[in-house]
């Protein structure tokens, strides 16, 4: 009998204990909420697909010693529905690692019926395994970009997340306000044309936005399908689940979803990101199917900067490369994104501006590892509290703009 089988609901307590021990506190005592989170994300997701299940590895005593999570996603390629498996996390009990548990789980998962498998938060070990099994690094999606608004705060935030130089992080944190207060002066020294998009201070965009609702995203994705060859095949039930789960991962900040209009009232595109006042905001999806990505970025950066973010980060998507250049974003290494598919057309499309496959379709943003660590937020002040304060600033800044624009827009 195979030691590998599909995850069942009854396995979740054992899986959570294993995960807590290997990836979280090191104890086998997970917080009670973790079980519910695993249940919602691996079993009860509206797109959970019994033929692309999460897998567990049982030893000869029936004890679970390995687990690979599966997030089934639905895409369309040239109008045809296809299935995607997003794998992760992959966890093996330390005492079972020399039995190849992780490698065998990954191998079995990749051999599933899905048309394509991705992971967007791979460790180097997983990369080597998956490449050994025929997968490859999705190069553009493994490169990150950063737009900095407050260099001091951004550097302090970056250092504090590295946990390597705590003294330096504290020191930079102390001088950051002074450095950031001087930033507008540096900005004003730059020529006007350069300052518009390259600068630290974000100008009022020539665009307006409304909240991106489920219905609006469904409508926009339907329109985008006319120009995109590869895109998510969202439905209302899934999007309600997705938006609710974005809210649950509160340590990342406040999820913001905006539909952006140009001056003439035409839809320019949309964005979804986590606003983290005082920290580095993280982009999950930027879409501009009609080619107005510059305008969408203008609005995103203005919104994030006015919301108190020190910087915004995202990953390179093929359609964004040009606009990110014109906004003078810095490039750096990011989480490794991997892909496994035997469909060469699909593989080729992943690197094309005609595809929309973003972090929103992956598992990078999820909270399995960091939610409920230490009984609360990973930050001393909740990003949500900070966002509440920052938001009043945005609202004040927008008031004049609102009077000129359409009702409800920011």
């Amino acid at each position: 009998m195979s030691p590998i089988r599909a995850l069942e609901r009854e396995d979740l307590p054992a899986v959570c204990r294993l995960y807590e021990r290997v990836f979280r506190s090191g104890t086998a005592d997970p917080p009670p909420q973790l079980l519910g989170y695993f249940e919602r994300t691996f079993i009860d997701c509206p797109w959970a697909d019994p033929s692309i299940p999460s897998l567990v590895y049982e030893d000869s005593d029936g004890k679970i010693v390995g687990f690979i999570g599966s997030h089934a996603r639905r895409l369309r390629i040239d109008g045809r529905p296809i299935r995607m498996g997003c794998s992760g996390p992959l966890v093996a009990a330390p005492e079972a690692r020399n039995r190849g548990v992780g490698a065998l789980l990954l191998r079995r998962y990749l051999a599933g019926p899905q048309d394509i498998t991705i992971t967007d938060a791979a460790t180097d070990t997983v990369r080597r395994m998956e490449v050994g099994l025929g997968g490859q690094v999705l190069v553009h999606a493994s490169i990150g970009w950063t737009k900095v608004f407050r260099p001091g705060a951004a550097l302090a935030s970056w250092l504090s997340h590295r946990h390597r130089w705590p003294m330096l992080a504290r020191l930079v944190g102390l001088v950051a306000p002074v450095l950031d207060a001087a930033a507008p002066m540096l900005d004003s020294a730059a020529p006007g044309r350069l300052r518009r998009r390259a600068g630290l201070v974000q100008a009022q965009p020539d665009a307006q936005a409304v909240p991106l609702t489920v219905d609006a995203l469904l409508e926009q994705m339907g329109n985008a399908a006319r120009t995109l060859r590869l895109h998510p095949d969202y439905d209302a039930e899934y999007l309600h689940w997705l938006f609710s789960e974005l809210e649950a991962v509160d340590f990342r900040g406040v999820p913001v979803r905006h539909l952006v209009y140009d001056r003439s009232g035409r839809v320019a595109g949309w964005y979804v990101y986590y606003l983290t006042p005082g920290g580095i905001a993280q982009v999950l999806q930027i879409a501009a199917p009609t080619g107005s990505a510059d305008l969408v970025l203008d609005h995103l950066f203005w919104h994030a900067a006015n919301g108190g973010a020190a910087a915004v980060q995202g990953r390179i998507e093929p359609a964004l490369l040009g606009p990110l250049r014109s906004h003078w974003c810095l490039l750096s290494r990011s989480q490794l994104a991997l892909v496994y598919t035997e469909d060469q057309i699909l593989l080729g499309l992943l690197g094309s501006p005609k595809s929309l496959l973003t972090r929103l379709e992956g598992e990078w943003w999820m909270g399995h590892r960091l939610l409920w660590r230490g009984g609360g937020h990973s930050m001393s002040t909740s990003p949500r509290q900070l966002a509440g304060e920052a938001w009043s600033v945005v609202e004040a800044a927008c008031r004049g703009h609102l009077r000129r624009g359409r009702r409800g827009m920011v």
Binding site: S2, I4, N98, G100, L104, T125, M129
Partner: protein, 85 residues
């Protein structure tokens, strides 16, 4: 034919994993030559080299403990016969 297979496996491990196996009965796991990552590379290499799909539904790492055991596993699972080796 079959007699050549162990030496082909040894060569394959050297070429694909950069591991020199001293003898066909060397314990690859005990000696630390084969870890989880190397195992998956080895499985992929065997499948590619011998144009087969290993029946890993009943996988037992004991089958990969040495070149000899790998050969026995391939033999007992009918892979070599199916290839006409």
């Amino acid at each position: 034919m079959d007699a050549d297979i162990p030496s082909r496996i040894t060569e394959m491990i050297r070429d694909r994993l950069s591991v020199d196996v001293p003898a066909a009965d060397t314990d690859l796991i005990e000696s630390g030559l084969l870890d989880s990552l190397a195992l998956v590379m080895l499985i992929a290499a065997i499948e590619e080299t011998f144009a087969c799909e290993l029946p890993l539904e009943v996988f037992d790492i004991e089958c990969f403990r040495s070149v000899e055991r790998i050969f026995q596993f391939m033999h007992s699972s009918g892979i070599l016969e199916a290839r006409g080796s």
